[in-house]
């Protein structure tokens, strides 16, 4: 591998940020402060993670790897919770959904030998899985909120006919899980045609034979489908009851 980004190179690439800032200034978008903050956050966060990962990979300690993976899951859950718009126990539900979906997917990948139990593989994959689960859960929460608002009458009607909460919510649950998985399905359809996704691009960048690189991308496609499916299912089923009270009435 002969990949080197020099510090001067990076500093010069900062011109790209200035381009956007120039546009924002000219068009009076009032986002320059936001851009500066976000760019510095990105730089600081990435440097910290870079050094942290370097340390963790070198130590190659089993426990430390698991702790780091858990921190990723925790952060993802926290961010998913922020999109819950009032759904109760959103952190607990998100954590469970991300923990289980990440756990199942990782276990399968390790069991079949596609990835090894080493931090340099486990941690990046955990990050990819957890962040996709987080996005899927966010979509599910948003759809649940919207559907329970828009379809109030139908739900009331089902309840009035003597449906239990699950039966009254079932059409919404199905729709929500589907919407949670849909972006993964859509991106699977266009992968390689429209987008050359991160995993594959990174490997090709690093000089890996494209045919080997695509195999990794196929693995990523599989693992993201399983993850968003499991995460959407768990989060949706744990969340829908918070739209009812203990008397099984719609709130």
């Amino acid at each position: 591998m002969n990949l080197v980004v020099s510090n001067q190179g990076l500093a010069l690439a900062f011109i790209l940020v200035l381009v956007t800032m120039g546009i924002a200034y000219r068009e009076k978008l009032q986002v320059n402060r936001d851009i500066i903050v976000s760019v510095f956050r990105a730089i600081v966060q990435l440097f910290l993670v870079g050094y942290l990962l370097k340390y963790v990979f070198r130590v190659n300690n089993y426990l430390l790897t698991i702790v780091l993976a858990l921190i990723i899951v925790f952060n993802a859950s926290y961010n998913a919770m922020k999109r819950s718009q009032g759904i109760t126990h959103a952190f607990r539900n998100s954590f469970l959904a991300i923990f289980v979906s990440t756990g199942v997917t990782l276990t399968v990948l390790i069991a079949v030998g596609t990835i090894k139990m080493v931090p340099s593989q486990l941690i990046p994959i955990t990050g990819m899985i957890a962040s996709n689960a987080m996005v899927a859960i966010g979509i599910c929460y948003r759809n649940l909120n919207q559907a329970f608002r828009d379809q109030r009458q139908q739900i009331l009607e089902r309840l009035a006919l003597g449906a239990d909460l699950k039966e009254a919510s079932l059409p919404i649950l199905r729709e929500t899980i589907k919407i949670g998985i849909q972006p993964t399905i859509d991106s699977a359809k266009t992968v390689g045609i429209v987008s050359l996704p991160g995993m594959m691009s990174g490997l090709i960048f690093a000089g890996v034979d494209p045919v080997r690189a695509i195999k990794y991308q196929i693995m990523v496609t599989f693992m993201l489908l399983s993850t968003t499916g499991i995460a959407s299912l768990i989060a949706t089923y744990l969340a829908y009851k918070s739209f009812y009270n203990e008397r099984k009435q719609l709130l």
Binding site: L156, E157, R158, L161, G162, R247, K248, Q249
Partner: protein, 221 residues
């Protein structure tokens, strides 16, 4: 024992008092018409009875038991609530008529469904008709069938005839007469003059309070 007793029932949302001190008793098999201007609280009153809302004060007793002590799903299967402008589920009329059976994990009784369709003036071909091709009146009649195919003890009809033509209203009136013969208690919410004129017992609600009633004095305790 009275089948339904409202005892000083009130319902409040935030600062807004929607129902005040409602006391009302209904016998099994009675047909009670609840009338009042829109926004008077009549729909809220019957939603409380259907256990779709819980009173903020007072109690509703059903066959001598406080309904808040009843399991809501089982209770709603006995006290069935039909609403104005219902939505039909799925694609066909059949799916809608199967719904009450599916909920109770019973086999669909097609003969009874066909007899039901006939009772509401729809022929057998309607069973597999797509719901999107039904008129407003037909939709409402199919929706009502969902409530009564498995006979409830009480049927609440919350302005189900609003916006329907005379023919549809007449069919529904006949259905009510038939259900009454089968011993079902019927509560009709309406602001239609004809339905009010036809009422055997009228309860009038204004601004969240009962104005007149068959035996108004009897209710105050």
């Amino acid at each position: 024992m009275k089948q339904i007793v409202f005892e000083k029932v009130a319902y409040q949302v935030g600062q807004q008092q929607i129902l005040h001190n409602i006391s009302l008793q209904i016998d099994q098999g009675e047909v009670v018409t609840i009338a009042g201007p829109s926004g008077s609280g009549k729909s809220t009153l019957v939603k409380l009875l259907a256990s779709l809302l819980t009173p903020t004060a007072g109690q509703i007793w059903y066959q001598g038991r406080d309904i808040t002590q009843e399991e809501p799903v089982a209770y709603r299967r006995k006290v069935s609530y039909a609403m104005q402008q219902p939505t039909l589920f799925g694609k066909t009329v059949r799916e809608n008529l199967q719904f009450p059976y599916e909920l109770r994990q019973l086999d669909f009784d097609e003969q009874r469904a066909l007899a039901g369709l006939q009772a509401v003036g729809l022929t057998a071909v309607y069973l597999d008709r797509e719901v999107k091709n039904l008129s407003g009146g037909e939709r409402q009649r199919v929706a009502l069938l969902r409530n009564i195919l498995i006979l409830p003890e009480v049927l609440i009809m919350d302005e189900v005839t609003a916006g329907l033509d005379a023919n549809n209203r007449e069919i529904i009136a006949q259905l009510v007469a038939q259900l009454q013969q089968e011993g079902v208690t019927i509560i009709i919410v309406t602001h239609d003059e004809q339905e009010i004129a036809r009422a055997s017992r009228l309860v009038e609600i204004k601004q969240g309070q009962i104005m007149t009633g068959g035996q108004a004095s009897e209710f105050s305790r």
